[in-house]
Symmetry: C2
Subunit: 426 residues, 2 copies
């Protein structure tokens, strides 16, 4: 099935075949060749407030619009799917007076909206219409719970130990107002208007139950901008995600997802998301020579190959020395420190967005990475790696962690169920 | 020639055939079908600092990446090309002490960089590498001069009368720090990293000659998100650009561009850009019923058809009344007030980006339209229309003009020439 193949093929940082469009067998050329120059809004469902997904017999969508991820499933969407061109992260706090009942009703509303939007349908009777011409555009919506949620809903006993606050790192410069939150929503889509439309619909669903605590916007490459699918590049110009675990790895599920029989029971097939807003000090970084940048990272900038040789997929030779006896991959190189096999097997699935909010108050670019990583246990994923980076990473002089969040993301909702139901009605 | 056909076919608000990708004759499916799942960075030019555009025999780029606009030409790029998925607007002020000589050197650097980047090449020896895997992705870079530029460079006599400050409008709520500027650069591309890369390269080119005054980010729909090319939709959900003049119109050039024999001579084939950051009061707007929204605009939201009937391209019947004798298109409807034939033939080419910078200081979405319009004479284009809107537009309760700029955009540079050379070396 085409939809399933999207989930399997589009792994963050790993090439994607965008199978859904391939499976349609309809080339972009054939589609566009029939489009006239007169501007009829043929995609719109004239006059109606809502709009339905195009039936199979209607004009087929082109590749970007027709990408569709599934709302229902073992896991929530937005974890193993490929990087999307546009993303919104938004955290909410429950409103004063709102408790478990209001939270349950909100998650029910949110799940219904997410399911509709991910199918390319309108949000409801008061849809804003912003997305109505586009297909689902690989929209995903993912919901998570923060530490504070459990106290406010009387569910302290259900709070996973894995949600205990992250340790302080000496290099952190965290803005509390843009960190944490009772509820977290991750939105991704390959079209900016589709993503914005989902953001507004989900905000409206919050009603009087929850208030926005912080909201961030991000982006990745547009599908088709590169000649072929490849590892994403970040705003420092590095290939980013080369060592990401792959769904085909034997231990992928074990590292990324809470087991079906795991604790607490409501987190079965769920995952923990660590979110870090990592500012890149680009004015400083861009002053470094290419060689200096590559020494900081430990990989070649152009193709991501380790400085010890080979190509992007070659194992890094950490012991290789040059003629003077110095390590070819410096001891404080970012790629050396983050090597999973030097971190007790710690592994996390990184699925970030870049961000760029113009010029910051200090006159430098307010740009960097909305780092999002997924793991079965943050204490075996993000934390040990960040501890090592905090002590001696050459990259740390060029980045600044400015916000942080940790969220418990339950497993996917079964048909007829809403996300978090096993917690809220358990 | 494929590149030329992009410029002709992709008009703002008008369907585009993205001719360059069609002309390649290579389907997305065929390209992606050969991509393995192993993540080789085949697009990268291993190890070199710079990177060349892929030769014709190399792996062809897919449709989005291969789109290319021409730097040299009668007009600057970024005016008649189709809307791009991502945009940056940035204004600079000349640094204290910088004058005509420094400005000329800067425009020479900027033109060289723009030409290289629009061809998919590296910016120079210190390229950041952020765009290196992608094609040009329809990148355009456009340069303009603001009122203050001429005094700082001793070129007051060359300042066009058309650059006289716009009149105050009663509904303006302008932030001076985000308005005006000596120099204006418009960047657009269908890939966010390509656009960001260009922004950084051009900022670096500014060196000590000019400092960023303000910078804004915008977006439009991703190519291929809709089933077929159609008029763009804005964040209020309206089709936006239905009545845009089209290059095929007999008076298009006359309305949009300064004549080849026009005044001042250095503005031959140039145009004037009015830039307005128009905040949309979405929390208020989205409370209106669909019917109320359509009365404000005068068109149906779903398909852009006038309330007097027909489809998007049908002429609006301003005299049509309903059974009670009321005008079907209300007297204060936005589409009635902005009708060119009711504004002394005023016409401007609107080529906007949407923007969304998260939640504003007042708790509402900092989102709306980076309105950019092009005309041969602002006093016959933007000004009379805005005067009428300022007096009685039903839409004005739902929008707020928060920043404004007016820039003289000279004609395109001939080969060997830089943009503005006829002014700076005239």
């Amino acid at each position: 099935m085409a939809d399933q193949s999207i989930q399997e093929a589009r792994t963050p940082g790993v090439p994607t075949t965008r199978s859904s469009s391939d499976a349609s067998g309809i080339s972009r050329r054939a589609l566009l060749g029939t489009a006239g120059a007169t501007g009829l809004a043929l995609g719109a469902a004239g006059g109606a407030v809502g709009y339905a997904a195009a039936p199979a017999s209607a004009t087929p969508l082109t590749s970007v619009g027709s990408g569709r991820a599934m709302f229902h499933g073992k896991h929530q969407p937005g974890i193993t799917e490929g990087l999307q061109a546009r993303g919104h992260l938004v955290a909410f706090d429950l409103a004063p007076g709102a408790g478990r009942r209001e939270a349950a009703a909100l998650l029910r509303r949110w799940s219904a909206t997410a399911e509709r939007l991910m199918a390319g349908e309108a949000a409801g009777h008061d849809d804003t219409g912003v997305a109505q011409d586009a297909g689902p555009s690989s929209l995903t919506v993912t919901f998570g719970f923060g530490y504070g949620f459990f106290g406010r809903t009387g569910l302290e006993k259900q709070r996973p130990a894995a949600l205990d606050p992250l340790p302080d790192f000496s290099s952190d410069r965290l803005d509390k107002a843009r960190s944490d939150g009772d509820l977290w929503v991750q939105i991704g889509a390959d079209d900016a208007l589709v993503a914005f439309h989902a953001l507004r619909a989900l905000q409206k669903d919050a009603g009087s139950a929850a208030r926005v605590r912080w909201q961030m916007n991000g982006f990745n490459r547009t599908p088709g901008a590169t000649a072929r699918p490849m590892t994403a590049r970040n705003l420092m110009g590095q290939l980013d995600g080369t060592r990401n675990p792959k769904p085909a790895d034997a231990d992928f599920d074990q590292r990324i997802f809470v087991p079906a029989a795991g604790e607490p029971a409501w987190m079965a097939n769920g995952s923990y998301a660590v979110v870090r807003r990592i500012r890149m000090l680009l004015d400083d970084w861009e002053q470094l020579s290419l060689t200096a940048q590559e020494q900081v990272i430990g990989r070649r900038k152009a193709d991501g190959a380790p400085l010890s040789g080979g190509d992007e997929t070659t194992e890094m030779d950490l012991d290789k020395a040059d003629a003077k006896g110095d390590y070819v991959v410096p001891l404080n190189a970012h790629a050396r420190i983050t090597r999973p096999d030097r971190n007790g097997g710690a592994a996390m699935l990184r699925r970030p967005f870049s961000y760029h909010d113009g010029i910051g108050a200090d006159g430098t670019p307010d740009a960097g990475l909305l780092f999002i990583c997924w793991q079965a246990d943050p204490l075996r994923g993000f934390v040990p790696v960040q501890r090592k980076l905090d002590r001696g990473d050459a990259l740390s002089a060029y980045i600044r962690h400015e916000a942080s969040g940790l969220f418990a993301v339950p497993g996917g909702a079964a048909k007829g169920e809403y996300v978090g139901q096993r917690l809220l009605e358990g």
